[in-house]
C-alpha cells in the first residue's frame, strides 16, 4: 500500500516557516525576555526535523546543501572570536559591550556584542542537533 502523506507535507511547508520565524524571535528576545541562542537553535532544528519527517533526508540535503558539522564549527569559531576581539581592546577575554544604534527601519535599537556570541551558540546548537539526527537517520 502506498502511503499518501499529502496533508502532512502541505501542513509542514506552511508550519515550518512559522516555527523558524518563532525561533528567530526567541533568538533575538533573549537579552530582555526568556529566550536566547540555545532555545532558538533547538527550535530551528525542530523545524528542520519536521521537514525531515514529512520529506526525506535527500530532499533536506537539497534544500540545505551544506554540512551541518561545518555549521557547528563555524558557530563555535564565532563565539570564540567575540571573546578574542575583546582582547584587542586590552580588556579581559569575553568582555562585552553595547550601544544604541540608529537603524533604518527599526529606529533607535540597543545592540549588544553578546548577540554575536549568541549567534555562535545558535549555530552550534543547530549544527549539532542536525548532525546527530542525520547521522542516526542514515546509519543502517
Amino acid at each position: 500500500m502506498k502511503v499518501n502523506d499529502l496533508i502532512l507535507q502541505t501542513v509542514t511547508t506552511l508550519l515550518s516557516f512559522i516555527i523558524i520565524i518563532f525561533s528567530v524571535y526567541l533568538f533575538f528576545a533573549g537579552h530582555y525576555t526568556p529566550g536566547g541562542g540555545f532555545i532558538g537553535g533547538l527550535m530551528t532544528s525542530a523545524a528542520l526535523v519536521l521537514l525531515l519527517l514529512a520529506f526525506d533526508i535527500k530532499t533536506i540535503r537539497k534544500i540545505f546543501p551544506f554540512n551541518f558539522m561545518t555549521v557547528a564549527a563555524a558557530g563555535l569559531l564565532i563565539s570564540i572570536l567575540t571573546g578574542v576581539a575583546a582582547m584587542f581592546f586590552d580588556v579581559p577575554y569575553l568582555t562585552h559591550t553595547f550601544g544604541y544604534v540608529e537603524l533604518p527601519i527599526l529606529g533607535e535599537t540597543a545592540l549588544a556584542s553578546t548577540l554575536i556570541f549568541d549567534l555562535g551558540v545558535y549555530l552550534v546548537v543547530v549544527g549539532i542537533a542536525m548532525t546527530i539526527i542525520q547521522t542516526i537517520g542514515e546509519s543502517e
Partner: protein
C-alpha cells in the same frame, strides 16, 4: 588583568575548531596541530616565568570582579602543570602522526586531542568550582570520543564502563557543588575558602569535603575508586593511553590538592587522615597489580595507580616539604608516564603484542628503544640522577619529619616493586633469545622513538637540573601552604 593566562586554553580551543572545518585534509591538520602546540608551549613558558617574577596572575573573564564573575588563576602550581601538560601532549601528538592510522585520523582525531588539551588546561587554570566542573566535562567528553574512536569490540565494551563511571561521578560532582553552594552561597574558590575560614569548618562542610574527595578520587583513580581504570585505559591505542595516563588522572589529583589545601584545610585530623590512609592502600594496590601481570600495558597502567597514591600522600604530610615533594613527583610522573607509554607503543608496533612472554631479544635491532626504556624505568623507580628521585626524597623527608613512618616504609617498598615490575618488561622483552626475525616484525619504529627522547631528556633535566627547578616548585608549595596568598591575589582585599 592579564590575558596571557587564558592563552593555554584559548589556542587549543581555536585550533580544535579550525580542525573541525578541514576534516579531510590530514596533512594540514598535522601542520596546524604542531604550530598550535608550539605556540601553547611558548605561552605556558612565558606564563611560568611571569608567575615566578610577578606572583599569582589572575584574569577576570568578562571584566566581572570575583566572586561575581569567573576568574582564571595561574599560581605556580597550576602554571607548572600547564607547562608539563602541554609538553607531554605535544609529544603524544607527534607520536600519533606515525602511529594512529588513517582510520582514526579521518574522524577528527586531532580535533578531539586539542579539545582534550583545552579541558585539561582549563581545569588547571580555573579559579571557580563550577567552571572546574565544566572543564572536567570538556576533558571527559573528548576522552569519551578518543576512547571509542576506531570502534573495535574491546573499545566499545570499555568505553561503556568508562562512560558510566564518569557520568555517575559527574553527577556526584554537581550534587557536591549544590551542597557547597547551599552552605556558603558562592562557588569562587577564593571566596568559598574565606567564607569557610570565617564561619569555621562545620561537620556538614567536612561531609561535603569527603564527597568532593569521592568525586575526584573517581576521576583520579584512588583506592577503592580505581576499579574502572585498568580496563578502560587498556582499550585505546598507545598514543591515546599515553595522553590519558599522563594527564587525565593527574587532573583529579590536582583538584584534590587544590581543594584540600585551599578550601577544606581546617579539619586535617579527619580529611587529611582519610586521604593518607587511602593513599597508602592505593600505593600497595598499584604495586601488587604491577607485579601480578605479564602484559606491558597492564603493568604500566597499575604504575599510574601507584604514582597517584604517592602524590596524594603529599596532602596528608601537609608541610612545605611534603607539598613540594608531591608537586615534584606529579610533574615527574606526567613526563615519565608519557615516555613509558610511548616507548611501549613503539614496542607494540614492532611485535604486535602486549604479552611479555611472546617477546624477546628486541635489544639487538632496537638498541636506542631498549636503553631509552631502561632509562625511563630507572626514572620511574626513582634512581638518583633522574627525576623520580627528587620527588620521592622530598616526600620521604617530609614524611620522616612528621613521623609518618608507615608511609615512608610503604613508599620505599613500593619503589622496589615498581622497579621489579618494569625491569620484568625490560629483561624479558629486550633480552632473552630473539622471537621475531627482521622480516617477522609487524612495523617500523621510524619516527616513533623521537617523541619519547624529548620526554626522557626532560626527565633527566628535572633530575640533574633540580637546583634550577627547586625554586619554582617551592614557590608552588609555599602558595599551597598559605591559602591567604591565593585569596589575596584573587579577591584583592
Amino acid at each position: 588583568m592579564n590575558n596571557l593566562v587564558i592563552l593555554p586554553i584559548l589556542i587549543p580551543l581555536i585550533t580544535a575548531t579550525l580542525l573541525l572545518l578541514i576534516p579531510k585534509n590530514i596533512k594540514l591538520q598535522k601542520v596546524i596541530s604542531v604550530i598550535s602546540l608550539t605556540a601553547t608551549t611558548i605561552a605556558s613558558m612565558i606564563l611560568v616565568h611571569n608567575v615566578y617574577i610577578n606572583g599569582i596572575q589572575t584574569l577576570e573573564i568578562g571584566s566581572w570582579r570575583p566572586p561575581f564573575g569567573i576568574v582564571l588563576v595561574a599560581d605556580m602550581f597550576a602554571a607548572l602543570l600547564v607547562l608539563t601538560g602541554v609538553i607531554v601532549s605535544f609529544t603524544c601528538v607527534l607520536f600519533s602522526f606515525r602511529n594512529i592510522g588513517k582510520d582514526r585520523e579521518n574522524f577528527f582525531y586531532y580535533a578531539f586531542t586539542q579539545f582534550l588539551i583545552t579541558g585539561v588546561m582549563g581545569a588547571f587554570l580555573t579559579g571557580d568550582l563550577f567552571n572546574l566542573f565544566v572543564f572536567f566535562e570538556v576533558m571527559l567528553m573528548s576522552s569519551y570520543a578518543l576512547i571509542v574512536l576506531g570502534g573495535t569490540k574491546i573499545q566499545l565494551r570499555e568505553s561503556i564502563k568508562y562512560l558510566l563511571v564518569n557520568i555517575i561521578s559527574s553527577a556526584l560532582f554537581v550534587i557536591a557543588l549544590a551542597y557547597l553552594y547551599g552552605l556558603v552561597g558562592t562557588l569562587n574558590m577564593a571566596d568559598v575558602s574565606s567564607k569557610i575560614a570565617q564561619s569555621g569548618q562545620t561537620d556538614i562542610v567536612t561531609i561535603v569535603a569527603i564527597l568532593f574527595l569521592i568525586v575526584f578520587g573517581l576521576k583520579g583513580g584512588i583506592f577503592p575508586l580505581y576499579f574502572w581504570l585498568p580496563g578502560s585505559y587498556q582499550a585505546p591505542p598507545y598514543a591515546i593511553t599515553a595522553i590519558f595516563g599522563a594527564l587525565l588522572t593527574k587532573v583529579g589529583v590536582y583538584s584534590i590538592y587544590r581543594i584540600f589545601t585551599l578550601i577544606f584545610y581546617h579539619e586535617p585530623q579527619i580529611t587529611h587522615q582519610i586521604i593518607g590512609a587511602l593513599a597508602i592502600i592505593t600505593i600497595l594496590i598499584g604495586a601488587i597489580g604491577a607485579i601480578a601481570y605479564w602484559d606491558v600495558k597492564k603493568i604500566l597502567i597499575y604504575n599510574i595507580v601507584t604514582a597517584v597514591g604517592v602524590i596524594m600522600y603529599g596532602i596528608s604530610i601537609a608541610t612545605e616539604t611534603g607539598y613540594a615533594g608531591g608537586i615534584y613527583y606529579l610533574v615527574h610522573d606526567m613526563v615519565i608516564k608519557g615516555a613509558l607509554f610511548l616507548l611501549a607503543g613503539a614496542m607494540f608496533t614492532i611485535t604486535g603484542t602486549d604479552n611479555i612472554k611472546k617477546m624477546g631479544g628486541l635489544i639487538k635491532r632496537h638498541p636506542l628503544l631498549g636503553w631509552m626504556f631502561f632509562t625511563a624505568c630507572l626514572a620511574l623507580a626513582g634512581i638518583p640522577p633522574l627525576s623520580g628521585f627528587v620527588g620521592k626524597i622530598l616526600l620521604a623527608q617530609g614524611g620522616l619529619e612528621q613521623e609518618h613512618y608507615i608511609f615512608v616504609g610503604v613508599m620505599l617498598f613500593s619503589s622496589l616493586l615498581v622497579l621489579y615490575s618494569v625491569m620484568k618488561i625490560f629483561m624479558n622483552c629486550f633480552f632473552r633469545e630473539e622471537v621475531l626475525s627482521q622480516k617477522e616484525e609487524k612495523g617500523t619504529t621510524k619516527g616513533l622513538v623521537y617523541p619519547s627522547v624529548i620526554l626522557i631528556a626532560l626527565s633527566a633535566f628535572l633530575g640533574l637540573g633540580a637546583e634550577f627547578v627547586y625554586p619554582y616548585v617551592f614557590e608552588a608549595a609555599e602558595t599551597l601552604m598559605d591559602p591567604s596568598i591565593y585569596i589575596q591575589a584573587v579577591l584583592k582585599e
